[in-house]
Every structure is written in C-alpha cells, then in structure tokens.
Amino acid sequence: MNNPFLQRRERLMDLKTHRESKVAQRAASGSCSACGKATEKEVLEQTRYVCPHCGKHHPIGAYLRLSFLLDSGSFEEIGEHIAAPNALSFPGYEEKRKALRRTTGLSEAVVTATGTLDGQRAVFAVMDSRFFMGSMGVAVGEKVTRAVEHAQQNSLPLIIFSASGGARMQEGILSLMQMAKTSAALARFSQAGGLFISCLTHPTTGGVTASFASLGDITLAEPGALIGFAGPRVIEQTIGQKLPEGFQRAEYLEEHGFLDQIVPRGELRQTLCLLLRLHGKGSGTHG
C-alpha cells in the first residue's frame, strides 16, 4: 500500500477503531451487564466484545465493526461529511450534536463505506447507537439512500447493520420522510436485481425496523438483539400487562418467521462471505 492517501485513510480508520475498542472495553470489561462476570480486556478483544461466559453481545461502534468485517486496507468511507440542518430549530439540538461528534468521533449515526470481504467488494452502512441512539434523521436517511444508490450504480451488493431507536425526534416529520426515501431507494435497487443483506443488531426499533432494516433479501441478526416496531415500554403501557420473557428478541423473531438466521458476531464475516459467494457475480444489479 504505497498510495499516501490510502495510508492516511487507513491510519484514520485505525485511530477511530482504536478509540472505539477502548470505549467497548470500558463498557464490557469490569463486569458483564448480563451475567455480572468479569473478563480481561484482551479476551474481549478476541471475542469481539461478546461475553465468554454468557454470550452477551456488547454494543460496538461502527468503525470497530467494520474493522472486524472488512479485508484490511479495503475500507473507503463515502458520504462522510453529510450533515442535516436543524429544520425544526429544535432547542439544544445543535449543541448536543456537536458534543456527540466530539465524544464519539462520528459525524452521524451511520457510517457508509465500500470495502471487500475475501476480495468481494460491497457497500456497507453501519449504524452506531452512541449517536442519538442510532436514530434516523435526514443525514442518516440520506447516507443510507446514497449507499443504496452507490451499490446500484456500481453493481455491488449492499450490507446494512442496523442499530437504532427509530426516527430522530429532533428532526420531526423530516425523519419520518426518510422511511419513505430509504424504502423507495431499496425498492428500486431490488427491482434492478441488487442484493441487500440486512443485519439487525441490538437494538433495532421504530422507524428503522419499519423501513430499510426489514427490506433485506437476506435478514440476519445478532443473538439476543432487541428488534421491533414499538418499544417494549410503549407496548406494556398500551396493553397494560408485562411482556413475556424473550419478547422481541432475535430468537423470538426467528421463531415468528422474520429472520433467515441468527449469526453470532464471531461468525458474521464468514457468513457474509458465503452469502456474497452464493450470489456470485450477479450479486450487484443485473445488466
């Protein structure tokens, strides 16, 4: 890799990945939020932040996830600087966004990129729940839509990792419109023969579940991920009763016919490589 631009890009990716691994370590080491058992940070790095005792998949940042998936040196970010206006003039929104950009190193709640898996190129959109709970406003909708369009124009398969609390309240109705925009872009992509693999991670809810996350040709989920339209608290308030154990978890969705497979984080790269191979050269768009 002699190209200085590529080198710089890789260094930036490394820096962001390093920062996120520190964050993930802090969150996951000490004691597991699910089973309470302690794990060394070196072990967590090896397990990709999955608790070796109980299998709990701890949340990880978008760049870190991409570093686990992509062939090294193949990461190329697209649409990095896309930001949305404060169209509702929502009080405090601008300041909170700025603060989150500083603390997370993210520009928005989704990172979009191209990269290769075992040499097979694909377009990726990876959401990050540290940024406004991964909510979808205009910038997220635009970045996802451009990722779809990029995949269609370049006849590449599309892989989206969702992690979202739903629509971004601070951007109001324009957030809602992103559901139509992303779904319409995916419908076109699908009509053109494009392959879309949707990977659902904890948590995927609201407007993201009710739009692009549910439109995959193949739908995968990480074990234990909460996936649903309405949040559990809202449902409990509506029906006035406690929800059963395991409700809206990946295993529940699989049982109800909404997932192809649940894939542990350690096997995801391998599974995605297999799926790209199975869709062969036609894994982008026809013609």
Binding site: M169, G172, K181, G206, I227
Partner: protein, 271 residues
C-alpha cells in the same frame, strides 16, 4: 385560514365528528365495492378499502377507519392497524397496479397499533414493505391527510404522487404526547410539543412534505362537511387528471420522496 395554535388543530384533527373515510367514500365515489382481508392472516377493520368509481373511472380507494361510535371504534381499533391491515393495503395496491386503477388514500390514524400480537406478526416488516411497494406503483396515487397523520402508520398510506392535507389535519413523526414523553419524559407537555413539532398543514407545506392545503369551514371540517367534500373533490379531480396525463408516475414519485430533506453533495444542507 383561521388562526389557531398547533394544539388547537390537534384537537380538531381528532374531533369525533370529523368526516372519516366512510363519509368521504359516500360523498365522492359511486359503486363502492369493499375488499376485505389480507389473504394471509385476517381482516383488519382499521383499514377500509376497495374499488369504486370516481367521476365514472374505476379507482382503488383505501383509508384508515376509526369508526363513529364506541362499538365501531372497537371493531376498527380506533384506526390503528395491525400488520394484516397493511398487508391488505398491499393486496389492494397490487390489484390497482394490475388493473391500471389510480389509487386514492385517506389518511387518519393515531399510528400503527403498538401491541404484542402486532409485533409477533411483524408490524415493522408490514409497514416497510408497504412503503416499498407503494413507491414503485406505476399508477397515479393521491393521498389526503384528513385528520391525524400519525407516524409510520400514516406514511404507509401516503407515499403518493400528490399529498393533500386538510387545513386542520396534522401529520407528524409521533403523537405530541409520545414526542413529549420521549424527549422530556412528560406526556403532559404535549401542547408545547405540538408547537415545536411543525405538524400543521402550513408548516408541512413550507417543508414540502405536503403539496397542497385544502381549506376547511371556519369551525372545522365537521361543522360543514359538504364544503369539505367539494373542496377535496375539486383538488383530487384536478390532480388525478394531471397525473394521468403526465404519466411516469413511479419515477416522479421516486424523485419526490428522494428529495425529502435533500442534501447536496458538498454536504451542506439545502432545504
């Protein structure tokens, strides 16, 4: 247009005597044939749909159905669809495409139902696939937001070439109560939320989320429904004729929604 606060419009949009999909079908269409069921699970009374003649032309007409009295409200689940409601919509949309019938939808729902069974049957998938399907239809689609346009449950019937909105209707990402409860953990601040959310017809026209406002009588739609039927009929017939003449409905509809919250390539926002 009458001067009103956003919260006052929310109240009018929810008024129990406000004309609903049944009244609009009776007033604007003839020979309505209702089509029930999704052919997968069941019938959902919160969505009313079928074939009818609109000025002599066969169209597919679909709307959220809240019901007039408590009994009807219960059958209609207060206009909050389950997944089978959205799958019925999809069945009707596919037939509209097959038989080249324009689609006219009436939107009036607090939102998709947030319940245990709705989740078990895939509420998210049902809405997502309805959005995707409606975006690809080659026939003209006109939507009228007549009352409450609540969240994804409303949007699923409103991916239209032309979106009209009654003067006192509201359309939002979530109910003002839900919005206040998420952001401030206090549902009682709903009036404040309503003002902030830009959910009135005026606000939405400025944001280009809707295309046209249909005026209501001074006291609201329920005080003189005939006035409203005539205004809706006039607007729908004009736009339907225009869409039929222009053609290329899927591509035009795509461009319309592609431009929602458009950001140019330098990353600077353009709204």
């Amino acid at each position: 247009m009458a001067e009103r606060t956003a919260a006052q419009r929310v109240a009018l949009a929810r008024h129990s005597a406000r004309p609903g999909v049944c009244e609009f079908i009776q007033a604007l269409f003839t020979d309505f044939f209702e089509q029930k069921g999704d052919r997968l699970y069941g019938e959902d009374g919160s969505i009313l749909g079928g074939i009818a003649l609109y000025h002599g032309r066969p169209v597919t007409v679909i709307g959220h159905h809240k019901g007039r009295d408590l009994n009807e409200n219960l059958t209609c689940n207060f206009g909050m669809p389950h997944p089978e409601g959205y799958r019925k919509v999809q069945r009707l949309l596919r037939q509209a495409e097959k038989f080249s019938r324009p689609v006219i939808t009436f939107v009036d729902t607090p939102g998709a139902y947030p319940g245990l069974e709705a989740e078990a049957r895939g509420q998210g998938e049902a809405i997502a696939s309805t959005l995707a399907l409606m975006s690809t239809l080659n026939v003209p689609c006109v939507s009228i937001i007549t009352g409450e346009g609540g969240s994804g449950g409303a949007l699923a019937l409103a991916v239209a070439n032309h979106v009209l909105m009654l003067e006192n209707a509201v359309y939002s990402v979530l109910s003002p109560e839900g919005f206040a409860s998420i952001l401030w953990k206090d549902a009682s601040r709903s009036e404040e939320a309503a003002e902030l959310m830009k959910l009135t017809a005026d606000d939405l026209l400025a944001l280009k989320v809707i295309d046209e406002i249909i005026p209501e009588p001074e006291g609201g739609a329920h005080t003189d429904p005939q006035f409203v039927y005539q205004a809706v009929d006039k607007a729908v017939s004009v736009h339907l004729a225009k869409l039929l003449k222009e053609g290329d409905c899927a591509a035009r509809r795509y461009q319309k929604f592609r431009a929602m919250g458009k950001i140019n390539s330098s990353g600077k926002e353009t709204l």
